[in-house]
């Protein structure tokens, strides 16, 4: 039968082409990893609904995400934290969601990346819209979307060809991303942003760790540094008063519910650190926030074990250093009785 022949041929060619495609990208140094997508965030966010006083939620931007390692935290405290930090995001929309839409009154650790936390409260601004879209997705997600995600996890964990991240990395290998790399010239005079490559491996429970290549390949690390410098130079002036006022409303509400808020300032280094010192000096931003929030707070510069940590791409810690940072941070928090109901050392 004619159509049967076509079907058999189509299946055979598709199988061969797909296997060849997978092997080719593996030979180029790619390895399977989960996409850091809204569905994964929402799965973790759902756990907040049943979280208890003993639970810890981590909020913030990519620094809190890379630098606090979930496994290490669990080893040190006996319980995995709920990692809800979001890359390139202000923590304010997600903290607002936790405070206003849940009964959670355990511990919330907010990682402060000054350039993002103090950036804006404008709903359409990138650092706000991005985390808000995660919150909206969680609230609106359908049962079909939940099932899609569950079915996609084993595929993402085992196939390189499944790398089509929402982040739209410049080294994604889905068809759309590959076509985006074709360049026949620009028609405007605006300089393009530097290419932004994926440098984190994502796993379940939601956790991200720096890809080893970022540590060993300095050219690759430099490409990420260029991105930070590009964003740093183009960033609008911070909106300290508006962001602080927004945050404080939720801080007061959270405290009134009996919640335990902790502020941390994870490390940065090199040019990024220099830029932060100039544009967002500690005294005017971090110290001021700590002062008004009146909660326990931990700046990496205040601890001997942290102040010399070097970020391979100036903004996030390598996996080894992130494990060290997590372990030491938990020790500090415990010594300071900052964590409630945690297992003793």
């Amino acid at each position: 039968m004619k159509l049967k022949k076509s079907l058999v041929l189509a299946i055979s060619i598709t199988l061969i082409a797909t296997v060849a495609w997978e092997l080719y990208w593996r030979s180029q140094g790619f390895h399977p990893t989960l996409n850091d997508e809204k569905a994964l965030w929402a799965m973790t966010r759902a756990k907040v609904e049943t979280a208890t006083k003993n639970d810890v939620i981590i909020l913030g931007s990519s620094r809190a995400y890379f630098d606090i390692q979930v496994d290490q935290w669990q080893k040190s405290t006996g319980k995995a934290p709920l990692q809800l930090a979001s890359t390139g995001s202000s923590p304010l929309p997600i903290f607002n969601d936790i405070v206003n839409n849940t009964n959670f009154n355990g511990t919330v650790i907010v990682g402060v990346t000054p350039g993002l936390l103090f950036s804006t409260t404008y709903p359409k601004a990138f650092p706000w819209e991005r985390p808000q879209s995660k919150v909206d997705f969680y609230q609106d997600r359908t049962y079909a979307q939940r099932l899609n995600f569950l079915l996609s996890v084993p595929l993402q964990n085992n196939l390189v060809l499944m790398s089509a991240d929402e982040e739209e990395w410049d080294d994604d290998i889905d068809l759309k991303s590959l076509l985006k790399r074709v360049n026949l010239g620009k028609r405007d005079t605006i300089p393009p942003p530097p290419p932004f490559y994926n440098f984190g491996d994502v796993s379940i429970p939601r956790n991200i760790s720096m890809m080893p290549r970022t540590v060993t390949d300095t050219v690759f690390a430099k490409s990420i540094i260029d991105v930070w410098h590009f964003f740093g130079k183009g960033a609008p002036p911070p909106e300290k008063d508006a962001t602080t006022a927004f945050f404080m409303k939720d801080v007061e509400k959270f405290k009134a519910k009996g919640g335990n808020l902790i502020l941390i300032r994870p490390p940065s280094s090199g040019g990024v650190r220099m830029g932060e010192k100039m544009g967002l000096p500690r005294e005017r931003f971090w110290d001021s926030l700590v002062n008004v929030a009146n909660v326990k707070s931990y700046h990496f510069e205040d601890y001997d074990q942290f102040k010399d940590l070097t970020c391979p791409e100036e903004s996030h810690l390598s996996l080894a250093d992130a494990n060290f940072y997590t372990e030491e941070l938990v020790k500090i928090l415990k010594e300071d009785n900052a964590l409630t109901n945690q297992k003793p050392n």
Partner: protein, 471 residues
């Protein structure tokens, strides 16, 4: 549930396994299909299945009474009940906020200070499709054009049949219900052809619409800048391709899935971008809606039976309401109004400036039709009149210092894709995929199928919703 999702693949495998397993008789298979259809719909928002049930119950009852009732007044009452419920749902869920917004504008314009909070009503997926489908049953029953569904199960399955539930084709009762009366089973050829159609449909949606075209149209229509003419045209033709591949893709998937179950659904698209004029366009684009509007709106409004003026009025009203069917916004009305105007102008041309269509002028005429259709898409896609007007100004070079937001490759890519699409429509306009496949070597067909499947796999759609779901 979306066809372009992993959950649907799993769902379809389970449905097909149960359908072709020998454990169920035909009635139980239909029950299974009905239950699956509710699951298919409920995976999006379970409570809204209740609307489907209400619509089903009301039209089943109305149809049952219309089958036996002889009193004309009572017959009319049953018809009105059905229309009231279905159009009531549509009015409340789809047009509630739009009506409120316009009411506020009107009262404010006459000096009354009134503010209303938007109702933020959730739009049930596919409500415009299934309400039109159930209404067609009751209207046909009223006009004694169709027979009453034999059983409630057959009728409920007609309303809810998952392949075409949320975005059509809008199928008439006599086309679909009768197919449920006898056991159905796809032949091996039908099953494989259905699978082929499903692949083509997904390819159209995921690769053509979402991967190749959507980004450009989103960028152009999302820009707040006044654009360069080239950018405005490229964005517009990208959208014209996107909406075709998106919607035709859905219909092709629906037809393919139904065929895998041995059920035949009618064609919904016949290469519309090679239409020779606008009457031809509406015989080729969203055929099931065009037919619905013709039979249940244009003809009852008088059609062409009461003189030219009345015919033009009926045509314009039909197209304006057709525009509004697509969305609760004045921009959709303008889209419908433009199509109504085109249709009237075409009739005037035929009357006063008739000319013969030859193979020489045909392609040019098709290109002119396609270009005019593109202008209407601007109003369909733009979220505001300001944006639509800015686009029109850019497209017709009424402002020259527009921003260039697209790179050269994007322009080349879109023009190539749309050019190929137009030529394909032109060469396919008098034939069908089935006919072409019969003339094609099975090896060539297999290779084409494999290329589409491979591109689908590496495109890895992010599960973008079909555009027509929102209608």
């Amino acid at each position: 549930m979306l066809f372009n999702s992993l959950s649907f693949i799993l769902f379809l495998i389970i449905v097909l396994a149960l359908y072709y397993a020998k454990i169920l008789n035909w009635t139980n298979k239909k029950r299974m299909l009905l239950l699956s259809s509710y699951v298919f719909y409920g995976m999006w928002n379970p409570p809204l299945v209740i609307l489907l049930w209400i619509s089903t119950m009301v039209d089943w009852t109305a149809g049952k009474r219309l089958a036996v009732e002889e009193n004309q007044k009572k017959r009319k009452m049953w018809l009105l009940l059905s229309m009231l419920v279905n159009l009531g749902f549509l009015g409340f869920f789809k047009y509630g906020d739009f009506l409120l917004e316009n009411f506020v504008t009107i009262v404010n314009s006459i000096g009354i200070d009134f503010k209303a909070k938007p109702m933020d009503i959730i739009l049930p997926m596919g409500i415009s499709f299934y309400t039109f489908q159930t209404m067609s049953y009751t209207i046909d029953m009223y006009k004694r054009k169709t027979e009453r569904a034999r059983t409630f199960l057959d009728f409920a399955l007609y309303v809810t049949f998952f392949p075409q539930l949320v975005a059509g084709p809008i199928v008439r009762a006599k086309e679909l219900i009768t197919q449920f009366y006898e056991p159905k089973k796809a032949t091996a050829n039908q099953f494989i052809w259905g699978l082929f159609l499903l692949t083509i449909g997904l390819f159209q949606k995921v690769v053509m619409a979402d991967t190749l075209l959507a980004g450009t149209s989103d960028k152009v229509f999302g820009s707040s800048k006044l654009l360069h003419g080239v950018d405005a045209w490229v964005g517009t033709i990208a959208f014209s391709g996107q909406i075709f591949f998106d919607f035709a893709g859905y219909s092709t998937c629906a037809i393919g899935i139904a065929l895998m179950l041995g059920i035949i659904l009618p064609d919904n698209f016949k290469y519309p971008y090679a239409s020779l004029g606008f009457s031809d366009l509406w015989r080729r684009w969203h055929i099931s809606l065009s037919n619905w509007l013709r039979d249940y709106l244009y003809i009852p409004l008088g059609g062409n039976r009461h003189g030219i003026t009345r015919m033009y009025a009926a045509l314009m009203i039909t197209m304006l309401l057709g525009g509004l069917w697509h969305g609760a916004a004045w921009t959709f009305m303008v889209w419908g109004g433009l199509h109504g105007t085109y249709l009237i102008l075409e009739r005037l041309q035929r009357r006063y400036l008739p000319f013969e269509i030859t193979k020489w002028n045909g392609m040019f005429l098709a290109f002119v039709t396609f270009s005019c259709v593109n202008i209407t898409w601007v109003f369909f896609r733009a979220r505001t009149f300001e944006k639509a007007w800015d686009m029109i100004k850019s497209m017709f070079y009424m402002q020259i210092a527009g921003e260039k937001i697209l790179d050269t490759f994007t322009i080349v890519k879109i023009c190539t894709v749309i050019g190929i699409m137009f030529l394909c429509h032109w060469y396919m306009r008098n034939t069908s995929m089935k006919e072409v496949s019969l003339k094609t070597s099975p090896y060539v067909l297999g290779i084409v199928w494999a290329i589409m499947t491979f591109l689908l796999i590496i495109a890895q759609g992010s599960g973008e919703q079909f555009i027509y779901f929102q209608f």
